[in-house]
Amino acid sequence: MVNRRLLSAICYLLSAIRMSNISLSNITKKFRSVIALADVSFRVNDGEFFVLLGPTGAGKTTTLRVIAGLEKQDAGSVAFDGEAIDALTPADRDIAFVFQQYSLYPTMSVYDNLAFPLRSPVHRVSEEEIKTKIRGVAEILRISHLLDRKTARLSGGEMQRVSIGRAIVRDPRVFLMDEPLSNLDAKLRESLRVELKHIQKSLGKTILYVTHDQIEALTMADRIAVLNEGQIVQEGAPDDIYDRPATTFVAQLVGTPRINLFEATRQNGVVTLKDGTVMVESKPNLPDALLLGIRPEDVKPDANGKFSGQILLKEPLGVETVLHIKTGEQTLLSLVPGMSDAKIGDVLKFSIASDKLHFFDTNRKRVNA
């Protein structure tokens, strides 16, 4: 415990001396005729846990590889602490990269894998010092008992811990992580998620983390950038992304179960769904045709509720229950806390939190009402 505190104190001091922020300006990358990244710009601040969120093929990994120098961008520039690093090799960028596949050297022991980056001739670290560092890192990641093992004999979770350890041990300027948890099972993913966040906070390092998993993004990130088809759709804190999604894409990407999204029109001062259900009173700045988004947790069973519908399906998840409610021509998802005693076929009265509705125009962009 003392060791860990000491280590984090040392790391904190080190990181205080050396700032490490990343800024990307107008990065464009093409693979033959396919545009992987189109004019991507964002900034990761020093000591920040920054998550790049997006579906498969959005360009997240490409962004990371451009920053690492494993891929050369066609246009734009990457800068660390305001200094352009485009001309530097991956080795000279002083980064650590955790790959989705556990990129461990198969014929070496865990200890040697962890020592690998330190033994590089660039560093000139004494074996004694390497030993202390590895012991410290192994303790943080709880892999001390594995140090003598060959990496081929490790489980997935252990392998990924060693990969993360190899990144931490060198104390790089920034950490780049490419879906490091997605090959692990759910339980392990959950616990490593917490660990990773804890390590990041205690070491105070800058992490750029790529994932397609919105839960990972929401739980770990200080800030999130949502990427789709090579473009940044929205950038902001987790609550910005969740509560004020900039487009329907973001709204649907973040949050389980998915947001309810309906086509609606503004007529005579009210917002009406296609089948004529009147939802709310209209605000003056809404367009005539729009999309209405309702988060499932804002659909609440309520005996005095304005709306009613029939329960089509019930998904009990233990801590909460998802109800599929058919009302008019639409099916609404409702998320209720705990186990619900409602039965399939029941007619349920419910209310919708009208102040939490999301409006999008026909271009699927958010309209602030």
Binding site: L70, P90, I95, A96, Q101, S103, Y105, P121, A152
Partner: protein, 320 residues
Amino acid sequence: MATVTAESSTSKPFVRVPTRRNQLSDRAVMNLFIWPTLILLIIFNFFPLFYSLYLSFTSYRATSPTAPVWVGIQNYTNILTDPDLWQAFTTSGRYVLFSVALQTVVGFGLALLVRGKFRGSGVVTTLILIPMMLSPVVVGLFWKLIYNPSFGFFNYAIPFINPAALDMIGSRFADIPVQYLALASVILVDVWMWSPFVMLLVLSGLNAIPDYLYEAAAIDRASSWFQFWRITVPQVMPLLLIAVLFRTIEALKSFDLVMGMTGGGPGNQTELIAVYLFRVAFQGQFRSGYASALAYIILIIVIAISNLYIRYLNQAKGEA
């Protein structure tokens, strides 16, 4: 099944419905495939194998009308005390050692060269593979011409010597005998012919190494030397060992190439064990019993070496 037959027979009443009786059972089909193969194997493989084992304990000449005479281990004792044979073994040993070692190095080198994709790399790889597709006898014959002191271009490609003075096949330079020159010339051709085979296997090993290992190493600031020894070599090792195993066995049995080039000469300088065996068994002497015993000794050596390699192979696989 039954309903289908019923339907088809109602729609076409005169169609003959196949019954169970004139269909072959699975077992019959199986036997039909297995037995011919097995009989061929027995006639051409098992019988000679065991008959030659019997012959190796007899005094027998395939050309003489007398029946084999049981002599016990006499043939084996004679072989193992015969200096000519030990000479042939030593020559084979040198041949195998240098030929396989050079093939490994050259093959590995070639694989590393053609590994990276470049314009025309497919064509280049195919061209490199041509030598191993040729017949060894053909290769032996045309290399004999290439080595020819008066018109072969090999000698002209070597700088600083008088091309007419060098006689590779004759193992002479300026009419003075040079030891091992003929053996070296055969080894050179074997390397030319079979390095592509090593390359092919190593190449498939190299292609199986995931890029992210190199990327991780690059980010970890590992030198290319270190990447080669810690990533490339260990990952390719199992396939490289297979290549070396195949080449060792083949080189130990090497016959046609040497016969095509030197016929074992000059003197007995390139007389490999297989060439010696051939001479004892079929040229003039026809000492069939003795030759069978020798063949068995070679078989045992090949099996022993293979086992050694396979042990290493399993070890290498366990590590990777």
